[in-house]
Symmetry: C2
Subunit: 582 residues, 2 copies
């Protein structure tokens, strides 16, 4: 038996008990006649005391030889601490050690195993197994487990069945993003790793499973942007005999349950917003509504004067930044530089300072009078003390630019509070989006997403206006997940394919087995998927997912700890019927 | 709203309520003036009645046009059935339908959607989504979910944390069995899919996670034997600061919990048997102990006469088959043919009939008298009425042969009862096994398995005799899983590698990152893994795992439903920096 208790367990009530603990040496303080050692495990830290008078000599000397991260086992008596430490749960006691075994020595770790470590990101990734010993990472993994258990138990109680779908599947039309796996037994053929279990979950609905879920790894071979991983985890769900409302209710229930169980945060019902409204009010389909700064469209009140920049613009739109009237000219110039950075891409910015006395001072005073500016303030909801920031240009572009500015200002003003939660359903997404490159419409979600029946008449005349039964859950400005009601009618599906530019033959080749399955009695169905890594991070009050993944990959898709990917030998390539082409 | 109730929900208490149901048409009986339709969903079957007098004419006619597996929605009143059906929970009621919507039509399915279907294995696999509608498959998937939830909740309550380990890892020394994934971003390099998360779980122990588990997909590119899948699910576990006893206790607790929760089957503690004992008594390291027929070794009582076959044999060993004295000469000859089949490989079989009067009749009466045969009966535990079957030859071979015969006879005698559960720990596995092909010792489990300290002195002189701290859980003659205490001492690990024929350089290259990790304070640790597919099948009273996997692959590793693996296009190959070599 290596331990009678964990290092986080002992309290005053245990005083005088003989106990055995095992763990890692966090810290050694050697005063010559007395040695204190903090021993650490997953559960906490306990102080050990070795004392020249009361500890056997051999044990005392061994204690003096301990180094950081040595693995030890000690036996001793729980005693009351002279100077208690109220910051840790075991702070009232310490162990007077009578026996010490070094279970393993340790090289000095390349960074300190402390909450605030001296190790940089790269070093910590290389030695991830040491990084995991640190509270911030360890607690993130414990938290992830807790959330996963909550999700599973909630959905299971709601009648959902977790079904494991296969990992070795078939390459899909969007094949370029598939990771593939050469088959040894089927010469010249490849499996693909799933980007999502989409088709399988739809087949499970055809199979009558009724309510399906799965916490499942998915794979996407994309050039990695920051905070993207080539393998990621999804809460994947599908339901039969449901309408959009049923699905929103279930997953609103799940999210509410998580917020309550984890944070004690209660919210009666989640607001809903159409995609059109979100774009108009926030320039973004995943608005952070923890704070205001809603867009005010100014075309009507800004295009009547001689200011050509505004008059030529498709959209003139502004936000009122609370309290930013105090910005100096220099600070505002820096802000203008910020919006002109290529990542944002605005050509310039007009501003209006809203003075406490109700007057306005703008960068376009040449063109607009106080009455004009008062109307701008009204449209943007600006109050005395605010700074109105106005961008103009092509609608889509200027909305994205102003959205970026809005988020930046919220960040600067501390309005994106990690412990506040503002969920939001964005509904009525467009069915199709125009792709400049291929000069045709693409399915915004996927080709099985159903259009809203009332919009379907527009499908030939004005396809871009057709809304889908598709929805996203947004939490604190992050897309947590989304889904749609699927098409289950063969006729409608055929029309959709032809609209998306598929010949019947192509549709059959690419979606054949699902189309075939649909001939044998497909129920109405729909579903959604949540990005689990991001959900956990946001619930944990973080924006970055990496600490919530035990062994993440870097931006080149490498695991720097195990040094993967790596070369494989010629014999193996030969068995797989492939050659390198480098 | 597609339904107010499911098809398994309505009872007498609902009589007179108006309800809406949705589901699939199981059966239509059209009597001309009356039509009965059974409608089915995941939850059950409800009888609908359409009646010329009481049902609107249009609805009645629509009902007459329904076909098998059409998807329908009906509204109507719950009424009492005239002739009740006690075999289904909804058998007391039926729905007098007032409204019927055909949500989807269906082609006639290629096999009947009944518990006993007319579809063969291949057809059912091709249309797996229809096969899943059948109770036996559907219930197996529901059962799997239930077991998975029990496992997760049990381990979570025991303080285990589920940590997701990566799927895109590095090819291992036993590389030939790895599925690999070419990296687009890292030219000429490959990820490998994990055969198990072994190294990652050991790193989690180095990282202080203390108690880890995961229900995780694993991958092995082996030539598939019957009932093997290229992707399979494991309950993977690891614990730090534990001895073998701690691990056995936890997972005995888990298994006992499952047997109790699922089958109400209680068992105080699992018997334990050493590997040596299992081989001696059952010729097998995963004996089915639901029945007896223990081996009786007969060397002492069968090698004193002139029977050369026995005298030349390393081992003479028999079993007493209960009640098989009644076998005719012809039946026994067929049994002898059975043991001589190449799959078993015996050269012949000696038998002794134990007559009810206490006398014996054997095939070797020429050589042995009644007194000899009485001793054989004693050694094999044979009673009057039994048939003693005796094989002889080289120890390992003859044990395997007799084990096969023992299982065959148990099968024929109906002793392998699917609803009886006989768990067993097999412990003290050999550390090493001799490989004829490479003429050297291999790690029986893996190179990190720790030898028993008391046997370690034999390691240079008699390596084959060294026992490991390794154990298997056997249930009803199936290996459910196994594990070991790992080596955490660097010295011991180095000696193990050299014993296994690794140079220090090779050891570093192949196990480098784990060895490096071990330098930073590795705790004593150990663990185990259960094969989840098999565990679920056995708990479900089945021997074959395929029905417990939603979308299994066939023996060539193909998914015949989606037709994977498949070719991919040249563009994609080029992006992945590989060429075909076919």
């Amino acid at each position: 038996m290596y331990r009678s208790h964990t290092c986080g367990e002992l309290r005053s009530a245990h005083i005088n008990q003989e106990v055995t603990l095992s763990g890692w040496v966090q810290k050694v303080r050697d005063k010559g006649f007395m040695v204190w050692v903090d021993v650490r495990d997953r559960y906490g830290i306990t102080q050990l005391i070795f004392d020249e008078e009361r500890t056997p000599k051999a044990v005392f000397e061994k204690a003096q030889g301990l180094g950081r991260e040595f693995v030890i086992q000690v036996t001793g008596k729980v005693i009351e601490r002279v100077s208690k430490n109220p910051n840790i749960p075991t702070g009232d006691i310490e162990i007077l050690v009578t026996d010490l075994t070094v279970l393993n020595t340790a090289k000095t770790p390349p960074f300190t195993i402390e909450d605030e470590t001296d190790g940089g990101e790269d070093l910590r990734m290389k030695y991830r197994y040491l990084d995991i010993r640190r509270n911030p990472v360890k607690n993130s993994l414990l938290f992830r487990h807790k959330v996963a258990m909550q999700v599973r138990n909630y959905l299971s109680n709601e009648g959902f069945i977790e079904v494991e779908t296969p990992y070795l599947i078939k390459s899909t039309p969007e094949g370029a993003r598939d990771f593939v796996v050469p088959s040894r037994m089927n010469e010249g053929q490849f499996y693909a790793l799933p980007q999502s279990p989409q088709t399988f979950k739809q087949l499970l609905m055809v199979g009558g499973m009724d309510k399906y879920f799965q916490l499942v790894k998915c794979f996407r071979d994309e050039d990695l942007r920051a905070d993207r991983q080539p393998e990621f985890t999804q809460i994947d769900c599908e339901m039969a005999f449901v309408e959009q409302e049923d699905i929103l209710n279930i997953f609103e229930g799940l999210t509410r349950h998580l917020l309550k169980e984890i944070h004690g945060f209660e919210i009666a019902s989640f607001p809903r917003m159409t995609y059109a409204e979100a774009m108009k009010k926030y320039g973004n389909d995943k608005p952070d509504i923890r704070f205001g700064m809603e867009f005010g469209e100014l075309n009507e009140v800004a295009q009547h004067k001689d200011f050509k920049v505004f008059n030529d613009a498709e959209l003139v739109v502004g936000i009122a930044v609370p309290g930013a009237n105090s910005y100096t000219r220099k600070e505002i110039d820096k802000l203008i530089d910020w919006v002109k950075r290529p990542q944002v891409g605005a050509l310039g910015m007009v501003y209006v300072k809203c003075n406490e006395d109700g007057s306005f001072k703008s960068s376009v005073d040449k063109f607009y009078d106080q009455e004009d500016l008062a109307k701008w303030a009204e449209a943007t909801g600006a109050k005395p003390g605010d700074l109105i920031c106005i961008l103009s240009g092509a609608t889509n572009k200027v909305r994205a630019q102003l959205s970026a500015l809005r988020m930046e200002m919220a960040e600067r003003l501390g309005l994106r509070k990690p412990n506040e939660f503002a969920p939001l359903w964005v509904v009525d997404f467009p069915l199709l989006e125009w792709d400049e490159e291929t000069a045709r419409y693409h399915a915004m979600h996927h080709p099985f997403t159903s259009p809203k029946p009332e919009d379907f008449s527009l499908i030939e005349t004005n396809p871009g206006e057709v809304r889908a039964n598709a929805y996203d859950l947004v939490l604190n400005g992050n897309e947590i997940g989304g889904g749609s009601i699927r098409i289950h009618d063969k006729e409608l599906q055929s029309r959709m394919f032809s609209l998306l530019g598929f010949t019947p033959e192509q549709a059959q080749e690419q979606f054949g087995f699902l189309m075939n399955a649909f001939q044998y009695g497909a129920p109405p169905h729909g579903g959604l998927a949540f990005g689990f890594d991001r959900l956990v991070a946001i619930l944990g009050g973080q924006e970055t997912i990496r600490d919530f993944i035990a062994f993440p990959k870097n931006n080149s898709g490498r695991d720097v700890m195990i040094d993967a990917p790596a070369t494989i030998d010629d014999e193996q390539l030969k068995e797989l019927h492939i050659k390198l082409n480098v």
